[in-house]
Amino acid sequence: MMPKLTYRVWKVWRRNAEVFTKTIFVNFIPSMLEPILYLAAFGLGLGAYFGAEVFPGGASYIQFIAPGLISIAIMYGSFFECTYASFVRMYFQKSFDAIIATPISVDEVIAGETLWGATRATINSTIVLAVVAAFGLASSPTALLIPVVAFFGGLLFASLAMCFTALAPSIDFFNFPAFLFITPMFILSGTFFPIPDVIQGAALGALPLTHVVNLTRGLLTGNFLPLAGLSGVSVALLGLAWLAVATTVFFVLSIHLMKKRLIK
């Protein structure tokens, strides 16, 4: 039932990390420019039309979207790494087949890919965090814990992505989860506007990005906000529990689905 994993997972992780560092500048620059653009255009541009303290917790608009941008970087970093990029390695490059012919097992290949996805989430979102801090929007030292949330949140999105990759008949298939799952989360998880009352329960139950946003927002400001009738602390604890359970389930599931796909 549970996958058997050894230190060899890190050899798979390291392969991807080495490819990444070769192209570090191509990867770095967009990760840095994008949040600057969003903060300037939406935060300052659009924010000028809103009052100074109208958003939950007395935040201005730019303060409100900052944790949203960090959370989106977590989601995109891991999800796209473990869908499109992993699919290319698996299907077109046959890299998984090559690695499985060595003492490394399928379980370890998939776990290594997923951990790398979580790492991408951490790297990308930490760059955004640095930009946010440069704009003076990180008001609490707890913001230093955000990379930890990024890694574990990234692990969830990477695991979900791996499940889709295991099921994908072709690379175009990823349009479905991207439009039906990722885009709604991008919009509806309390990223660019507070979650409307009527869908707050649904968002907490079904949109994992909501929990990542809540945690990130709390850590960035040092103030966890109530939501859907729950206290701020309850929202944070619910988020941690939700992420822990979902990550475990989908991590194990992704390895099972992938084994079913690769080993006949």
């Binding site: 080495e18 490059q93 046959k94 012919a101 097992s105 080993i263 006949k264």
Partner: protein
């Protein structure tokens, strides 16, 4: 090399089914260390499936398979450490240079970096890829890619080298280069299993051949023995002609005459058997050649090997 009679790979009733389709159908074989054994058969015969079971990529459905005394069902990690695989499809890592491909692959086997680099440089030299050391994998020719895959398969100094159609898709020059390298490895005592649907390849490289078709081993033996046993020395090929067939049968009672469609093929046990007969039919377009493994295959299955 030492211990040349030691059995390295042993299969008993080895079977692989994909759902209800049987790709490998209860085969028995042994491979002794230091030998080069070839699986010869048409596409779809089950060669790749067999090789993949040996390197524990595919689980066996039924039967037994051991490598160096280890069971593929339970000791896959140890077995994979002892084997070098050159797969049918190119799966070099296009994100890395030539040398880096070898170094990263060595890491998968827990080979320390310094040792890995030393071995990688030696292998690049052996496979005449030194000049391509820092080249991008995508810039290599088909033959170079094959040789790099073989180099990669040797990075862990395997006890057994599995070569799945090592020369398919290569031009004649590339093929001969690969053949030379396989011969050198053989001389160094590397145990090799290779699959092929080229009979020249099997004849040129293998100590022993397993002729496979439809998931079964239909005959085994040294290439020369198989040819001698099943088809003899000379083969005469000519378009079907009643009179000529009758003459052949009368004058050479030892030969075997087989008709395939509008072609007649005559197999003789001795060289030079046909010379007298041809003179009687000067206007016929007759070919006489050495018997080869394709004749064996045709004899055994009634079908041509190349599809």
């Amino acid at each position: 090399m030492m211990g040349s009679s030691e059995v390295l790979i042993k299969a008993r009733g080895l079977t692989k089914r994909f759902n209800s389709f049987t790709a490998v159908d209860g085969i028995d074989f042994e491979v002794c260390s230091g030998k080069c054994v070839g699986f010869l058969g048409p596409n779809g015969a089950g060669k790749t499936t067999t090789v993949r079971m040996i390197y524990c990529f595919l689980p066996v459905t039924d039967g037994e398979l051991t490598v160096a005394g280890l069971d593929v069902k339970t000791q896959d990690r140890q077995i994979k450490g002892l084997i070098g695989v050159c797969p049918q499809e190119d799966n070099l890592d296009p994100d890395f240079s030539v040398i880096k491909n070898l170094q990263v692959y060595a890491r998968y086997f827990d080979i320390p970096k310094q040792e890995a680099t030393k071995r990688a440089e030696e292998l690049l030299k052996f496979f005449a890829l030194e000049e391509k050391r820092n080249a991008h994998v995508e810039s290599l020719s088909g033959g170079m890619k094959r040789r790099l895959i073989m180099a990669r398969a040797l990075i862990n100094q395997p006890k057994v080298l599995l070569l799945d159609e090592p020369t398919t898709g290569l031009d004649p020059q590339g093929r001969h280069l690969v053949w030379d390298e396989i011969r050198t490895l053989r001389k160094q005592g590397v145990t090799i299993i290779l699959t092929t649907h080229y009979m020249e390849e099997a004849e040129a490289l293998c100590d022993r051949i397993l002729v496979v078709d439809n998931g079964k081993i239909i005959q085994t033996g040294a290439p020369k023995e198989l040819i001698k046993q099943y088809v003899g020395k000379d083969v005469l090929e000519v378009e079907y002609d009643e009179q000529m067939v009758q003459t052949l049968k009368q004058e050479l009672p030892d030969v075997e005459v087989e008709v395939f469609g509008d072609q007649v093929r005559v197999f003789a046990k001795q060289h030079g058997s046909f010379e007298q007969i041809i003179k009687q039919f000067p206007d016929k377009n007759v070919t006489i050649r050495n018997a080869n493994l394709e004749d064996v295959f045709l004899k055994l299955t009634g079908r041509r090997l190349r599809e």
